[in-house]
């Protein structure tokens, strides 16, 4: 028999009241853990969707101009030193495969630069001279029954392109999103649409740590007199996206924390009732030689016991609830098993125990401060 044992027995003496207090903690733990997991899964989902473009700068024309000329691209190339410069244009156009008509996004990239930007899943890269094109993985997957596949002939305007390759899935990017698009060599685009200018320039920085210096160098070279180009730092965008999803997680966890605080108040209430009911008993314990600190310990253990029970049950249920949450809202329950998600269950449980003990502190202190003479006389 120990003080912990005594606390456990007192908790089970009023089992209904204790169960209700535990239910509060359970709900609080589930709320924190699942909302945390949900927020974290959203972050993870963004992380998966956005290709890792941390080493990429995107140079686009400043407001007022719409295109970048060949000369400007040349200037950028000189400004960035050994980093790779990939100019591209994009447009949307009607296309047809056999009898089927449709529309698609078209990216035009100089043929020699395509391999460094995109991976081909099957087939080959198109050449500058030929009339070959690549199709994005999602476009290929969605249009297979329409005949749009490797080797098919695609008609754009009055010209025909042969699909020489299918791209690997790339995900959402800040530069180009080729998954639903057709990629053609710039030379073909230039002659087909009779255009020599580019929409944007992608700069692949050789060393990620130089990204700020390269950005600076482009801006110095191009924007000497007036703003000719905007240089977008994808790492910065990525950081702000993650900061945003991070705040979503904090917000959601905060909502969970509120429910746990409510649970804490109910523990406080239960403990205060327990102290009031047991004033006489505390008087007896004190008179036969139980120290203040020992009385305090007894009541803190009681709160700890409620907290541990709540956290354990809440932890298990959080796992189940987290599975449902991620499966329903995020569409992929795998995110639950990511260590950063599972951490939220631990976090929720720890918060549950801490809240319980913190709520038990005042009642325990009150019990310990009782005057033994008055407590003994209490009926």
């Amino acid at each position: 028999m120990t003080f912990f044992d005594l606390a456990r027995r007192n908790v089970s003496r009023h089992w209904l009241r204790s169960v209700l207090a535990v239910v509060g903690i359970v709900i609080g733990v589930i709320a924190i853990a699942t909302l945390g997991i949900l927020g974290n899964s959203i972050s993870l989902m963004f992380g998966d969707m956005v290709t890792d473009v941390g080493d990429t700068l995107i140079v686009s024309p400043a407001t007022g101009t719409t295109k970048l000329t060949e000369r400007q691209v040349g200037d950028i190339t000189r400004a960035v030193g050994s980093s790779q410069v990939i100019p591209f244009s994009s447009t949307a156009d009607k296309m047809s495969v056999g009898e089927k008509e449709g529309g698609a996004m078209i990216y035009a990239i100089p043929a020699e630069n395509i391999p460094s930007l995109l991976e081909v899943e099957s087939g080959a890269y198109p050449r500058d001279t030929g009339a070959g094109c690549l199709i994005g993985s999602q476009l290929a997957a969605n249009s297979r029954e329409n005949g749009l596949k490797l080797g098919a002939r695609v008609r754009i305007g009055d010209e025909t392109l042969r699909v020489v390759g299918v791209l690997e899935e790339r995900g959402m990017g800040f530069d180009i999103n080729p998954d639903y698009a057709i990629v053609v060599p710039y030379s073909w685009y230039s002659s087909h649409y009779d255009e020599d200018d580019y929409d944007q320039v992608i700069v692949k920085v050789r060393d990620v740590n130089d990204i700020d210096a390269v950005k600076e160098s482009i801006e110095q070279k191009m924007n000497r007199r007036e703003d000719v180009v905007n240089v977008m730092d994808t790492r910065g965008i990525l950081e702000s996206v993650f900061a945003a999803t991070g705040s979503i997680t904090v917000f959601l966890t905060g909502i969970g924390a509120i429910s746990l605080i409510v649970a804490g108040v109910s523990i406080l209430n239960v403990m205060l009732m327990s102290v009031t009911e047991r004033i006489k008993e505390i008087g007896v314990l004190r008179s036969i030689g139980t120290r203040r600190s020992e009385v305090m310990r007894m009541f803190i253990y009681e709160a700890l016991f409620l907290g541990l029970a709540g956290a354990a049950i809440g932890g298990v249920l959080s796992f189940v609830a987290g599975y449902l949450m991620t499966a329903v809202f995020v569409g992929n329950a795998d995110y639950l098993f990511d260590p950063t998600s599972l951490l939220y269950i631990i976090f929720g449980m720890a918060f549950g125990v801490i809240t319980s003990v913190a709520s038990g502190l005042y009642p325990a202190w009150k019990a310990a401060q009782l005057n033994p003479i008055q407590a003994l006389r209490h009926e």
Binding site: R9, L285, R286, S287, I288, G289, T290, R291, I373, L376
Partner: protein, 222 residues
């Protein structure tokens, strides 16, 4: 040296309506092995005397020594440890802990002194000495009769081998037959074990058990 010694002890309770003098210049010395009754009408200061003897309270003026320890100026923890190690309390309402079984109630003061091997055996031994049968050891106090509960309470008071038993109307909640049995038990502890017993009571019949009686009136020895 007396087990309990009061020298010029006064206890004053300051109240808004004016100070109340509960004890007024009291001198008492109780020697080891004595059986002493404390009697007096309500408001005579019996409870205050009992509280100070039990180290639950300290005097306003005067010197009090309990089992060789001067209690003036002791802090709460020192007083608590003094109660734990030197005083055995027996209450009118038994005051057993309802959460604990009979044997655990008796074992409790031993556990307070720190984990010791054999505390359960010691508790059982004392319970048998006060006349509780083994079959009752695992019962909860509420399942026992009043007389049995008081025997358990006496066992709890004795288990730490205190310097004296401090009994507050120990037969007050019992019928006369059971009360006599409890008095016989206390008397036996006094005569055979040499336990010092201090007992507060209203009942004049108890004087036959006592070596002497301290009478209080209006906070003074009468």
């Amino acid at each position: 040296m007396p087990v309990i010694s009061f020298e010029h002890v006064s206890k004053v309770y300051p109240l808004p309506a004016g100070d109340v003098v509960a004890l007024d210049d009291v001198d008492i010395a109780i020697e080891a092995g004595e059986f002493v009754l404390v009697m007096g009408p309500s408001g005579s200061g019996k409870s205050t005397l009992l509280n100070i003897m039990g180290s639950l309270d300290v005097p306003t003026v005067g010197e009090v020594t309990i089992a060789g320890n001067r209690i003036n100026g002791m802090d709460d923890d020192d007083l608590t440890l003094l109660r734990r190690d030197h005083i055995g309390f027996v209450f009118q309402q038994f005051n057993l802990i309802p959460l604990l079984s009979v044997v655990e109630n008796v074992e409790y003061p031993l556990i307070l002194k720190g984990r010791q091997n054999g505390s359960r055996e010691r508790a059982e031994e004392v319970l048998e000495a006060v006349g509780i049968t083994r079959t009752h050891f695992t019962h909860k106090p509420g399942e026992l009769s009043g007389g049995q509960q008081q025997r358990v309470a006496i066992a709890r008071a004795l288990v730490n081998d205190p310097d004296f038993l401090l009994c507050d109307e120990p037969t007050g909640n019992l019928d006369s037959k059971t009360g006599t049995a409890i008095m016989d038990l206390l008397d036996r502890m006094n005569r055979e074990e040499g336990k010092t017993v201090v007992m507060v009571t209203h009942d004049p019949r108890m004087t036959e058990y006592a070596d002497r009686t301290i009478r209080l009136a209006d906070g003074r020895l009468a």
